[in-house]
Structures are given as structure tokens and as C-alpha cells.
Symmetry: C4
Subunit: 194 residues, 4 copies
């Protein structure tokens, strides 16, 4: 099985997720600027999730690019990843509508953590299938981002019950770290040393 349909299906699901999140932002009834106020936290959480899904789409793209053949387990590891990503709109909406309350902020972190673990599993399956000379293994190198992110989420989740703003700050921090262009895979693919 080639990677084409695999990619197309993943892209489709992520494109739909990133778009239906907007549906959680209900059109307010008033016509004044005040009517928009209660939507601000929903909007901010939407922005954060949009960035996260954008990061997943971009990284997923690079990872699949470094993979030649899709096996059955990869297919299910991918569906597992998409499952957790599909909960992002729900977690985003709950967090936004409750103005970043402790419990929803913690749950948001749980969804991010599970998605990060699912991504890591998929990555390991692809690396294992490529053998000792794995292109992807060379590309991700020490993979400190992939290792640090779940650790940060795991810390941020319980912290939410002490101060959710610290947790949210950590979620934003992880997103920013990933936003910094990650040329590792690109470099290896074009022949540079990491």
C-alpha cells in the first residue's frame, strides 16, 4: 500500500477538524461589540487549537514523506492519532466556553498528551519498518521535541488545578517550540548531516 491514499485520508480528517472547530464558536445574538465578549475565550482557544492542528498536519506531512510503504499497524496507529485529534474540537469548545476553568484546561492537556503519544507510536512504527538505516530515524535524530512535549503536558495537567494559567502557558510554549521551523527531516531528505 502506497502512502498516497493514507496521506489524503489524514489530510481530509485534519482539514475537517480544523474547520468544524469554528462551528463551536456560536454566532452571538446581540449586534454590539459586547455580544462578542463572551466569545473571546472561545476564540483564543480556537486559535491555539488551530495552531496545534496546523503543526500536526505539517509534521505528519513530513513524516509520511519519509515513509515509502504503509503497513496495517501503521494504518491503525494513524487512525489512533486521528481519533485523539478528533477530540480537539470538543476539548477546545469545553475549555473556551468555561473561560479556561481548571478541569477543562486539564482535559485539554490530556487530549494533547494522548495525541502526542499516538504520534510517537506512529513514528516508532515507521522507523521500525525502515530497519537500521531508517531515513526517518536519522531525520528526527534525538527527537528532543517529541520527547519533551508529552513530558510538559504531563506536568501541565495536574498544574491546572493549582493555576490553569500556568498550564495554558505551557501549552502555548510547546506550540511555539514546534512552530520554530524544524528543518531536521527536510535536511536529511536533501542529504545534509544533522
Amino acid at each position: 500500500m502506497g502512502t498516497n491514499r493514507f496521506e489524503a485520508f489524514s489530510d481530509g480528517v485534519i482539514a475537517i477538524l480544523i474547520t468544524i472547530m469554528v462551528l463551536e464558536m456560536k454566532v452571538p445574538h446581540g449586534e454590539t461589540i459586547e455580544a462578542l465578549k463572551p466569545i473571546i475565550p472561545v476564540f483564543l482557544s480556537y486559535v491555539l487549537s488551530f495552531v496545534y492542528l496546523g503543526i500536526y498536519w505539517s509534521n505528519h506531512h513530513h513524516m509520511v514523506h519519509a515513509c515509502q510503504k504503509v503497513t496495517g499497524p501503521m494504518l491503525w496507529a494513524n487512525l489512533h492519532l486521528l481519533f485523539w485529534l478528533s477530540l480537539v474540537p470538543f476539548a477546545t469548545g469545553w475549555m473556551g466556553e468555561n473561560h479556561f476553568a481548571a478541569m477543562p484546561s486539564a482535559l485539554y492537556g490530556v487530549v494533547l498528551l494522548m495525541a502526542a503519544i499516538a504520534y510517537w507510536i506512529l513514528q516508532q512504527l515507521i522507523i521500525a519498518s525502515q530497519g537500521p538505516d531508517s531515513l526517518l530515524k536519522k531525520a528526527v535524530g534525538g527527537d528532543w521535541k517529541g520527547k519533551a512535549s508529552p513530558a510538559v503536558y504531563a506536568v501541565a495537567i495536574p498544574l491546572a488545578f493549582w493555576s490553569q494559567w500556568v498550564s495554558l502557558g505551557l501549552y502555548v510554549l510547546v506550540a511555539l517550540v514546534w512552530l520554530v521551523p524544524d528543518r531536521r527531516i527536510e535536511h536529511v531528505l536533501v542529504g545534509d548531516e544533522t
Copy 2:
């Protein structure tokens, strides 16, 4: 007519279905963990349907892969399959919101049964179009999974009025049986004997 656009359209519909099911999981109003409680059955039914749609996507992919040419009847048999799959989010939502009550659990089985029959019709059409040396026929072999699944659903539907938990157990069982990697088609495609 090639299989490309046929595949892309089917993928698109399944990707959308698997994603919009989450919309049935309404964001709760409270911010406590208790607010999530009434959503648990909705969530569990969502997980089951996610797995079912994942199975259909994966099997559909392999089946179409073993098919070279799409005829008019295949096109409509495929739309027929997509029609029953499109009712999965509705049946899932009804079952989840009523905490797996008897009637919704039975209806869920009816949708699964009709989808299984629609899938079988599409498979037969492809096999028939390929003549006696059908690659797909060799690939599915005795097709005991394809034959047993509708039979199990047919038993599970009336059982729901006696105990819906038995029916649900059967639905989960069938899903698990399909989840076990089914290398039949892959084997034939790479030249192994079944």
C-alpha cells in the same frame, strides 16, 4: 472509469462521517468532571463507531485496490454503502444519548447490518466484473468474516430487547474480529497463496 476519483470520493465521505460524529458530542455546560458524566455513553458509542468506520475505510481501500475498472452498477453500489455509513453518526448519537437503551441499540445493529450487506453487494459486483480469475475472489477466499458479520448482527438486533448489553458485546466482538490484521488481500496481491 478509473478507480482514482471513486476512491477519493469514498475517502472524503468516510473522513467527513468519522469527523462529524464528534459534533454529536455536545460540549457540556458545567465545568466540573461531573458535567462530563452524561457524555460517557456518547463517548463510548463514538469510540465504537470510530473503529467501525476505520475498519470500513481500511477494507474499502484494499477492495478497491484489487479492482481495476469502475462500472455504473459499482458506482451505485458504493453510494448505497456510503448511504448506510452516513446513518452511523445518527444511530451512534441516538444510542449514546439514550445510554444504550434497547431500541436505539437495536437500530444501531440495523445500520451495521445494512452497511455489511451493502459492502457485500459491492464486493460481489467487483468479483463478477473480474470474471473467473477474479483477483478479489481469490483474495477474500471463503470470506468467513464477511459472511459471519451480518449473521451476528441479525442475531444481535432482536437480542437487544432482551438485553442490549449482549447486543453491544456482539457489536464489539465483530469489530475486534475485523481489527485483527486481515492479510488475505495483501497476500494475494503480492503473490502468496491464501
Copy 3:
């Protein structure tokens, strides 16, 4: 501009339309079979619209297949067609929720009529771009289906105020006529005479 992205975008929109129509079928609150009763007309109108969108998808596919190059006007004629198709879920929902009342049944016909006209415009643009030896022109031949359908809709719309069942019968009739395999384009494409 090739036809690939043109096709993919049209497929995407039709796949989304065919799927979001199910969202109009709200999950009922009761758990008994009676709770499903008020949904029956919504379900029936959903089935009719599903078939119509399936027909449009299938015919659109064949038409674009007979077209080599997409021009600017074709692109907008296509968006015009997609616009009217995008109103199908709304018209379907309004008709279904009002149990096929006269006015919604007439509006449903108006949407079908406008979509048929938009389809005809797109077809004429493609034929015109292909010159006197147009493959598509030969393929559609006298195009009696394409000419008769809008005429039937135009008759069915005012009839809805006398008896909506006659109008609905006519909508179903047109759908059935199109469902009969239309091998015209396929024949010409493989070299047969029409």
C-alpha cells in the same frame, strides 16, 4: 488549467453536502420507536436528496471526464452549480421538518430547477469550448433527459400548491429516469456510435 483540481474540489463539496445533510436529522430525545416517527419525513427527504446528489456527482464525473481543459467561465459555472447544490440540505431539511408541506415542496423543486439549469450552462460551456467536433456534444446527443428534467421541475413547482404529492412524485420520477444507467457518454468515449 487541468481538470484534476477542478474535479477534486467539486468532489469535495458534493461529498461534504451529501454528508452534512444527515446533520439535519436531529437525534430524537425519546428512546422508543415512537420517537423516530417525526423523523420519518426528514429521513425520506434525505434519501431523495442523497440520490439526487449521487446522480449529480456521477454525471459531473462523466462530463468532466470528457473535458480536457478548464477555462475561467467553466470554473465559475461550476461554482454556480455547486452553489445551488449547497442549498439542497437546507431545502431538504425544510421540506422534511414540515412533513412535505406545499411551500417547502415547491422550494425544493426550485432548488432542483436552478441546479439543473446551472448544470446545463456548464455543459454548454464545455461543449462550446470543444468546437464542432465536441466529444461531449456527441456523448450527450439529443440530451432529452437534460432538457426534460427542468421542464418537469417547472411544472412540478406550481403543482405543489394544488397537491404536493404530485410534485414529489415528479421529483422521484426524474431521479429514477436518471438512475437508469446512462451509457451515452461512456459509449462515445469508448468509440461506439450513439
Copy 4:
């Protein structure tokens, strides 16, 4: 990274956006023609946004066509554009449901302005990546449309508080200017002088 998946993802998001806007047009409860009256402004704003998203899809297509390689910054500039486009259904719904009140009409302009700026950034990134002989630079030429549109939006936004009809007239005007077939890129691509 080639432009294929880049294009497919953008198309997917725009196709979903253009379609889910219809969901904002809630099915009315009455069955008379009067029941449709309050929907008329929602419908009109839907038509305007449909045309705008159609223009963005068409121009995006031509722009990406003139681009051979997608870099990391382009990818994020594209997600930035899709972000603002994803707010179009929200802004459309708010404007339509409040019958084109001043504040929602101004916000609609803000979303159009931000999308136009995001589009311009993406265009500049592609041009910069192509060096002095940029095909896209030659294609867009003086780019008066791309420069004038944000300026008109910037004027229309504050004007909404004086008369929203003037603002809306300006939004419609810009859409009409873009609807006029823009053969600039096509011409350059086939070798004509601009």
C-alpha cells in the same frame, strides 16, 4: 515539498468552509413563505461569502500553479490565510442574523481585510522564493487589485458605523472587480506579455 498536498489541503479547507456556511442558515420552523423572510439577509450574506470564497479558491489555485516548491514559511503563511478564511462563516452568520447591523458589517470587513493581507503575505513569500525572474511576479504585474482591495476594506470598516450599506456596497464592488476574469497569471503562464 511539492505543491500537491499543499493544494489538496487548501482545497479541502476551502471546500468545507464554503459548505458549512449553509449550516448557519437554520431551517425555519414555519412552512409558509413568511417563515423564509428572516432568512433573507442570512441568505444574501451567504451568497456574498460564497462568491468571496470562490474567488479565493480560484486565485489560490492560479497562484500555487505558478509555484514549484513549498517552503516552511509558505506553509504557515498558507495556514494563516486559511485561519482568516475559516472565520468567514462566523462573520457571515453574525452579519446575516443581525440584518447587516453596523458592528457585524464592520467585523465582516475586518475578516476580509485580514484575509487579503494574509493572501498578500503568501504571494510575497512565493515571489521572494522565485528570485528576480519570478514567474508569479511577472504574472501579477502591478497587482492593482491586490493592493486596492485591502485599502477599500480599510475604508469600508469605519464607514459601517456611518452607513453599513456603503460598506456592503464596497464589499460587493471588490467582489465584482475580482469576478471579472483575471487573465494575468494565465497569460504569463502561456507566454504572453502582460
